[in-house]
Amino acid sequence: MVLTAKDIAGPRDRGWLRYLRSDTFPTFWCAGCGNGVIMQALARSLAARGPAPEQVAVVTGIGCFGKADDYLTTHSLHGTHGRALGFATGIKAARPELVVIALMGDGDCATIGGNHLIHACRRDIGVLAVVSNNLNYGMTGGQFSATTPEGSITSTSPYGHVEPAFDLCALVQGAGASFVARGTCGQPALLRRLFDEALAHPGFAFVEVMTACPTHYGRANRQGDAPKMMRGIAEAYRGKTGVLFRRETAGFSSKYRALQTARKAADGRVGETR
């Protein structure tokens, strides 16, 4: 499915708007950027699931999508480049009842933050990780990242990129992620469904959104304007979107809670240890 006017206007229920800070609009993002599509789909999924904004904690890092927290009414932490999943892990482990979401770009999540990504998958803690994958570092001028396709032109691969790219969904599945999904910024209804399912998942949920950077990647690689890029991305990933992998899991928090309960019961001298 490709973006339509109906998707932009949306159904009558505007409950999702309470997650967005319209007083900080317009956003920082370029015309044609897919990040706004991701934000609206996520806000709609939150509204459908129903946690109050104070029950939601969003962590961002550095990069274009690292600005996402500026536009949210939820609790938020805007931190360092690549470390969003570390912060998110601490939040979720300390207060498992919160909905914890890490919003990252491909540089943040998969390049500088790659080590944290694979360990978050293995640890299987109930954080929703959303990656806006625009194939380059948009904020800083379009340098290549770990997801830039081989052969691409970027500002730091002016003669064509010689390194292969990560397939992030394959990477995280290999690292043990219990929920792996991919959508594109041209398919907001699909994104909405993926976020709905990811938010219901008790373990680590990974959603990759292939998105357009018409300002840098698209221009450098002659991919046309934003609508053309969005259609091109949807076409390129036909058959490679949706929930790609899912397994039953209890998730870290319920297992750790069981451990705490068992240890408390086994240790009658809790008061003295203080």
């Binding site: 104070e54 892990t89 601490g90 086994a266 809790v270």
Partner: protein, 377 residues
């Protein structure tokens, strides 16, 4: 009734006594006993132990837990402390309480991994980039390990900032009697009391340390490690930027006189030793040895190295015949002492940086080489 305890365990027990209930770390010699105790004890208290993939993630998880309202800490040594500096910057800038215990070992880099040093003094001050505050406490006994670790939580929550406990390998592994303090206060965070709609994460209208809500609470927290305004929104305004940078420093330095220091035999001291941690312990023995020989020696034991107690050092040292700074590095504390004394008294460095402690006899002898009469009789 005293209990026989190791310094690292006392650091952990003090943290727990002050309310520390979340630990995230990466094992590293000579601090690993703290991680092992956290893994063993925190679940019994309803707390959490996380072993992260590295120290970058460890301090990140600690910061996240603190934002979720749980007093949080980590322990490490030099190499890990280096990795934590990036996200310690987040905690300084976004004003998020946390406690970092650094049990110093010999460096640089992987150095002498099992041997003592005191060469992380400047890293505790300037380890992360940019203008930022620092608060670091230095225990010199198992008793002080417990007490200063607990105190670190109090300062951290009250000042909304990271506090470093700068121990060393010898103090961390030392075993001696500990009198467990009664009634250690649980570190409490000044929570916002305004209506949630009026709350700004960095609103200083009620004081220089804005109250901090918590993730899950009714007051929405927008923690931001980039330059931000009172609401936590990013800004590039120069007046806002300067006011924030200044306030981060001033909230600590304005309280300098409140932080603990320890004075030994200073009232009539002509020769003043200035030291901290294990070297203060050895210096005290040296001072007592010199006193028994009729030398008017005294010791200023630095318990709070940052903010550096410049006024106190100046007051104690200005009329001294000589000042001896004793440390296990080629000289980090000594520069601060010189800046404080401002030439009013001669300042001498007694330094060692070979992975071995300075012994009381070494200190007496090296001070005597400078001072002459009576020191090495």
């Amino acid at each position: 009734m005293p209990v026989f305890m190791q310094g690292n365990e006392a650091l952990f027990r003090g943290a727990v006594a002050a309310g520390g209930r979340f630990y995230a770390g990466y094992p590293i010699t000579p601090s690993s006993e703290i991680a092992e105790l956290a893994a063993q004890e925190l679940p019994k208290l309803g707390g959490v132990y996380l072993q992260m993939e590295d120290e970058l993630a460890s301090i990140a998880a600690v910061i996240g837990a603190s934002l979720a309202g749980v007093p949080a800490f980590t322990a490490t040594s030099g190499p890990g402390f280096s990795l934590m500096q990036e996200n310690l910057g987040v905690a300084y800038m976004a004003e998020i309480p946390c406690v970092v215990i650094n049990v110093m070992r010999s460096g640089p880099s992987t150095g002498l991994a099992t041997m003592p040093a005191q060469a992380d003094v400047m890293q505790a001050r300037w380890g992360t980039h940019g203008d930022h505050p620092a608060l670091a406490l230095c225990p010199a006994s198992v008793q002080e390990c417990f007490e200063l670790s607990a105190l670190a939580f109090t300062y951290s929550e009250q000042l909304r900032m990271p506090v470093t406990v700068l121990a060393d390998e010898i103090i961390g592994h030392l075993r001696e009697p500990l009198e467990v303090p009664v009634g250690t206060p649980i570190a409490s965070r000044p929570l916002p009391s305004c209506p949630p709609g009026d709350y700004g994460t960095y609103d200083t209208s009620a004081g220089d340390v804005p109250p901090l809500g918590f993730f899950g609470g009714p007051h929405i927290v927008h923690a931001n490690s980039s330059m931000h305004d009172a609401a936590g929104q990013p800004t590039t305004r120069r007046d806002t930027a300067l006011a924030l940078i200044r306030r981060l420093q001033d909230k600590v330095t304005a309280r300098s006189a409140e932080f603990p220091q320890r004075r030994w035999y200073l009232d009539d001291a002509e020769w003043v030793f200035v030291s901290f941690g294990i070297s203060a312990r050895a210096s005290l023995a040296a001072v007592e040895r010199l006193r028994s020989r009729g030398v008017a020696a005294g010791l200023l034991q630095i318990q709070t190295v940052w903010p550096f107690p410049r006024d106190l050092v100046r007051e104690v040292c200005r009329n001294a015949r000589g000042v001896f700074v004793v440390e296990l590095s080629l000289g980090q504390l000594v520069g601060e002492v010189e800046r404080a004394v401002m030439g009013h008294a001669p300042v001498h460095l007694i330094a060692q940086s070979d992975g071995r402690p300075l012994l009381p006899g070494d200190i007496c002898r090296r001070a005597g080489e400078v001072a002459g009469d009576g020191f090495d009789r």
